[in-house]
Symmetry: C2
């Protein structure tokens, strides 16, 4: 679209949806001179994103965008009555954000009931994952369990292990002393495809089996104290879920004794979502997600690990020796750049804020370094407060892209001194036949076209 | 319902939905003796919440709950395939939680477009408010504004005040350096009805015009720096919204210079919700909600307060002298017990965890004291980490109810030394003809029946 420049008289291309500094000054000069209609018209064009820029509105006072009964071309929301309060007692995201979804990876698993959906990390800010976008991993599908009929049983391997076995209702549990804590949950299989260098395209699929929430619940230690557990003998806990998979996992008692393990009912201020184990799930900070048993129905106390089906066959690591590593509970220090990341496109050169997430199952993130040259040089990124233990931390770094291809990486360190390894270091210890527990440094290739691609440096 | 006791042979009242310790032991003794069906049946009764308790299942092996094809009376979710992953790309709360809603107060305002919906504080945990339950206050209804057409204009009162006036797209703003911070937003009119001692029934209606989120956005200072503001002369900012109410509020420049004021696009990890100003809203930590302008379309820099319509007529405080106090921006230190609270019922004597929320527009909460005897004696409550500035803090205190009537109160102190006043202290300074800025101590009367009622101590 061309318009006549009011000063030079020449035909020029109208800037789309933008008023430059000179245009704004013109608007205000004219406005102060009493030309109120002009000001309002110019504003209308600017704010409605119409193709008429401020400097051209004067030369061509009839709005270019057609079909609007409003002579000033004001958008409807500046002139009319909007929606009433409580249109929906429980609100939803904007219709312009429907593309931000958790997504399954078609073909990854045989059935959609024993599968995964990934959180859209590339679209998220800060550290809290909206509960509607929390990743899913089900072993037998999810249920919306009636909380009035749900029970949690606590029992011991024998009568001496637990003096007063208990069955508790959800109401009884919610009446007990509770705490609220921000924690990250990561599936042990997160980034699993990268063991085989599959290089799935986006960070939603490479790292999206992770989410972070404020969990509320009762420390399991309080329940075991009520039940009269003999902590000298009872060194392990078995947690069992109520869905069809009867998920069962062993938790070392020292984790329970630390007070960190919670029987949770709350997540991000409200009750757990059905996909995340409503009405009760175990929260085991720092440990892979499979141990955060959903639809929690039973806690048994015993004197040795249970080698349950879900820990004898699955969630084990095939080492180079040919032996499997079992009970590898702790999620080691890890990070990923989420902006820019695979599948995104840098539209032009210049300033970008590199931003990403870091976490460790051992404690707090102490430092994150970022490289924009494939690991040759590293700069320390900013860490956003608050930095919490066994929780996501957001890091960022200023960067100006010169338009040349480059590889971006992030490397996290935690407050116990553990450092995130690169693939060479990880494979030297773990080999290449694992599925679980990949915490290697992620590489994103920024191509000259601006397209960002998942690559693995050997 | 009565059943025969398998040991004594006497008819006894079957405990509803509960297995006692002896019952659990019986289940396991029988289980270890190889009576597997019995164990499974007993579990089924316990877990399905059927009226058959474990000790009675033996005497009466036919499940009491009728109509279930499953001979063991197992609930469907323990036997069948559940819902697949990503049933909904954006999840929803449980069908059993539909009562947890934000709610308007019928008759409070003349139209539902210029009204309020209140957050259900009595049902929330921790400090994060789920975005779907964030309180609403609209002056002309809410809109789902198209972000691709939305603009933010920055201009100065004259050409010297701002060297480079700007109009920015949402994409341009999202590319700039951003921060994420947890902050509370409280409507200046929160607890307003209590000035007239109306004693609305629940804490949703007394204190529910408050919510807390992790906000993400660009410090406004960065945008003003880009625009070349003369901070010596430009001591005030006018923020203007794009909805029909053209909400306009003055913000003192020192707040902007502190870096705290954000042009936010993110809330709890995702884009702002439409009701909360999508795609851009101003975040002004510590200041009443009306200044957190939604659908933010313009920032003007000037050398004096603007006395805009929304600050000259509304959100002012009628003092005992008959004069109005204007520009009372800061939300003073305040707290409320959310459990137990008005409208709730204590079903029996014994242990309860008193829990509530505290906040201050001046900084961090330092201490919260709780009284369970109408203010005669006070105990210091636990504060849940993390305690953040200008953010909700969750406090709790253990309490055993003796069944007698009592009055509960909480009193917050912040790290600047400000202490929440009681009504006598507040009215001594402010009189009784205000609508806004009531931060008095809230009293809940626990009646002998267990019912909790809103009362105001003179």
């Amino acid at each position: 679209m061309t318009q006549q420049d009011p000063r030079s008289g020449r035909l020029i291309k109208a800037p789309e949806n933008f008023i430059d500094s000179e245009g704004v000054r013109t608007v205000f000069r004219e406005g102060k001179a009493g030309r109120r209609d002009f000001v309002r018209g110019a504003f209308a064009a600017a704010l409605s994103g119409g193709a008429v820029s401020a400097v051209h509105a004067q030369a061509n006072p009839v709005p270019a965008a057609g079909g609007d009964a409003n002579i000033l071309n004001l958008p409807a929301h500046t002139t009319g009555l909007g929606q009433p309060v409580a249109t929906d007692g429980y609100g939803k995201p904007s219709r312009f954000e429907t593309n931000v979804q958790r997504r399954p990876s078609p073909g990854l698993t045989q059935t959609a009931q024993a599968s995964v959906s990934f959180a859209p990390l590339q679209s998220l800010f800060g550290i809290v994952t909206p509960s509607g976008l929390h990743f899913e991993r089900h072993h037998q599908g999810w249920w919306d369990v009636d909380p009035s009929k749900h029970r949690l049983m606590l029992n011991g391997g024998d009568e001496k292990m637990m003096k007063r076995p208990l069955v508790l209702t959800v109401d009884e549990i919610m009446r007990l002393p509770s705490v609220s804590r921000f924690h990250v949950i990561e599936c042990g299989a997160n980034t699993g495809m990268e063991w085989g260098n599959v290089a799935v395209p986006t960070c939603q699929y490479t790292h999206g089996m992770i989410s972070c929430s404020e969990f509320t619940g009762v420390p399991l230690k309080i329940l075991l104290d009520m039940a009269g557990v003999d902590y000298k003998r009872g060194r392990y806990v078995l947690a069992e879920g109520a869905d069809g998979s009867s998920m069962t996992r062993t938790i070392p008692m020292e984790m329970v004794e630390s007070g960190e393990v919670l029987v949770a009912y709350g997540q991000n201020g409200e009750m757990l979502r059905p996909e995340n184990g409503y009405p009760l799930r175990l929260v085991v900070p720092g440990v892979q997600g499979v141990s955060w048993v959903k639809y929690l129905r039973r806690i048994e106390v015993g004197d040795k690990p249970y080698a349950a089906k879900d820990e004898a066959i699955h969630y084990i690591d095939l080492m180079p020796s040919g032996l499997h590593r079992q009970y590898s509970n702790t999620q080691e220090v890890k990070s990923v750049i989420t902006t820019p990341s695979g599948g995104q496109v840098l539209l032009d050169k210049g300033y970008y804020q590199i931003s990403g997430l870091a976490w460790s199952g051992r404690g707090k993130i102490k430092r994150v370094d970022v490289s924009v040259d494939g690991g040759r040089n590293w700069k320390t990124a900013r860490l956003q407060d608050p930095v919490m233990s066994k929780c996501l931390s957001r890091f960022s770094l200023d960067w100006a892209w010169d338009g040349k291809p480059t590889i971006m990486q992030s490397r996290a360190m935690d407050d116990t001194g553990h450092v995130q390894p690169n693939y060479k270091q990880l494979r030297a210890v773990r080999g290449s036949r694992s599925i679980y527990h990949n915490n290697a440094i992620q590489s994103w290739l920024v191509q000259e076209s601006g397209e960002v691609k998942n690559v693995q440096l050997s």
